[in-house]
Amino acid sequence: MSALSRRRVLFGGAAVGAGALLTACTSNTPENNAQVNTNTDASANPNAAPGQKVTIGFSAPAADHGWLAAITNNAKAQAAAYTDVEFKPVEAGADAAAQRAAVSTLISQKPTVIVMLPHDGKELNAAGLEAMKAGIPVINLDRAFPSMAAYRLQIKGDNFGMGLAAGNYIVEQLKAKGVSNPVIGEIPGIDSLELTQERSLGFKTALEANGFKVANRRPAEFTADSGQAAATALLQALPKMDALWNHDDDQGIGVLAAIKQANRSEFFMVGGAGSKAAIDAIKADNSVLKATVTYSPSMASSAISLARLIGQGKGLSELVELQVPKEITLASETITKDNASQYAKLGF
């Protein structure tokens, strides 16, 4: 009996000890690398002067991805930079239906404007229309609503342009090296997404214009471990490769790990999105990663700034028009060693 209880005490103690150690291990010091438009000095920029109070409702999917996390962080940080903005985020939940419900609740709270990054543009189109009907201007962020009546402003990245930029960079580099008939690999993200298909189409278009083609294409899932698996398979299929485009820098962590594990270095790689780690690696120039094409989450910061202007009825100072335009598509830029320092602040 006493032996048993002693054993129990020992096990219990071990469990509590392990629990305490684990609790100590959960703390993550958050890094603050939000991308904020710092042009908020009223003397230099009349639009920055505090004006009418604006309540911005915000809804974006809660996905487990660095890019989406950066979207939400940026929106929050940009809103905090203005004294006349009240930021009201709602959890979008796990899918389109949950986000629709969340946006309905948001509409009933009557914010001045709503910034929405939908799970899926088509599925949330009705939610956009509902808000517009209720007299709340909608800023459609990145994933486009099909109906032009569903948004006041659409601001998005350029997926096709991203593929085009990656393709053009690869063509340019290979031509400079004088490689004819090159072996080119591609690692896209989740293949069923429209954005992935647009990116791949842009890439193909750029390559085909120069008589090149993709030799092998292994989709990953925007995660590092799936990137590692896809890259390992690709490297095995192409014993010699000249160039590789990986659509996403987050899964690129795994892609680079796989390349290192396979001991390969005969090719160069282009990334996608423009993460901080990728930009640092390009700057350091010590891996196969030589460039990345941007799809920057800084668009969330811009969306908040523009939402504020729309709420206050102001236009963009550089434009003649008195109101903010209806559609903005951001250009996909190519980051190489030469301009990496300049882009460092846009990395996420």
Binding site: L22, N28, A63, T232, A258
Partner: protein, 338 residues
Amino acid sequence: MITETAPPEVQKRAQRRRFDDNVIRNLGLVGVLVLLIVVGIITKPDLYSDPTWVKNNFLTILQQASAIGVVTVGMTFVIIGGGIDLSVGAIIALSGVWATTLATQSYGAAGMIFTALVVGICVGLVNGVLISYGKLVPFIATLAMLVAARGLAAQISGKQTQVSANTFINDLAANKLLGIPLLVWILGLVVAAGWVLLNRTTFGRRTVAVGGNPEAARLAGINIKRHTLLLYALSGLCCGIAAIMLTSQATSAQAAMANLYELDAIAAAIIGGTLLSGGRGTIIGALFGVLVFSTITNLFAINNLSTEVQNMVKGGIIVLAVLIQQFRYRSLTQLLKR
């Protein structure tokens, strides 16, 4: 144990029949593997004509099967014991994320490995307690854990990809011992340990008894609740090991990692001859199941075929394996009735 009630010769005959059955099934899987490789040789003779590439390719297939292989060993035990663990992918994500927080990384490789293993075991224990003492159906309990563990992983990681700065962990996937990748050694050790545990210990016998006929096992004096608890803890431990392996391969961890591993592990166990209703299954069969999937992935990659087709073929193989299993099982029971 319980089999002591049967006369020795009957017991032996039953054992031999089960043994033959398993050998035939495993030979079938080896046949499938050989077939897949032959298809590879026919479709890509240029690649297969290079011996260095061929050797590398086999090692790559094994390496890519190693993390999921370890998970499948744990899953096989749970299924033989009459349960199911849908939370394995989520446990890997939670263990991996917990092991790669900046705070854990400051304790070095030992701290990271310890954390991953303890988190895996603890989550497995929670599953086990819910199932054996809370009387929840395994499907529901582990489904709830799937959602909750990924949620906690996302909470801890702040939805960011956590890069491992630890060279010891990162080198695990890059280094080899005697020409064989370290991860493959780990898989080999886990499979060997799993085989011994299932076939040569009372724990293994009890697992089969609990899954095959819980009431008889209880009457024979087996503490079913405690045994079930241990099975889920074992699965959790395997997930902890796999989390370290996967973190090493990807040099990072995140809440969305090991996506759908539960399905791959269950499928591998099933085509390896584990009965979904419990009471029967082999570790070697499960290993072959994992290798079949890994080889298919490789075959489709070297032929640049889309993953959509690959998933369809995978689905077909699962259905076929279960159909064959049902057919064999039915004919076996009919044979016994006669």
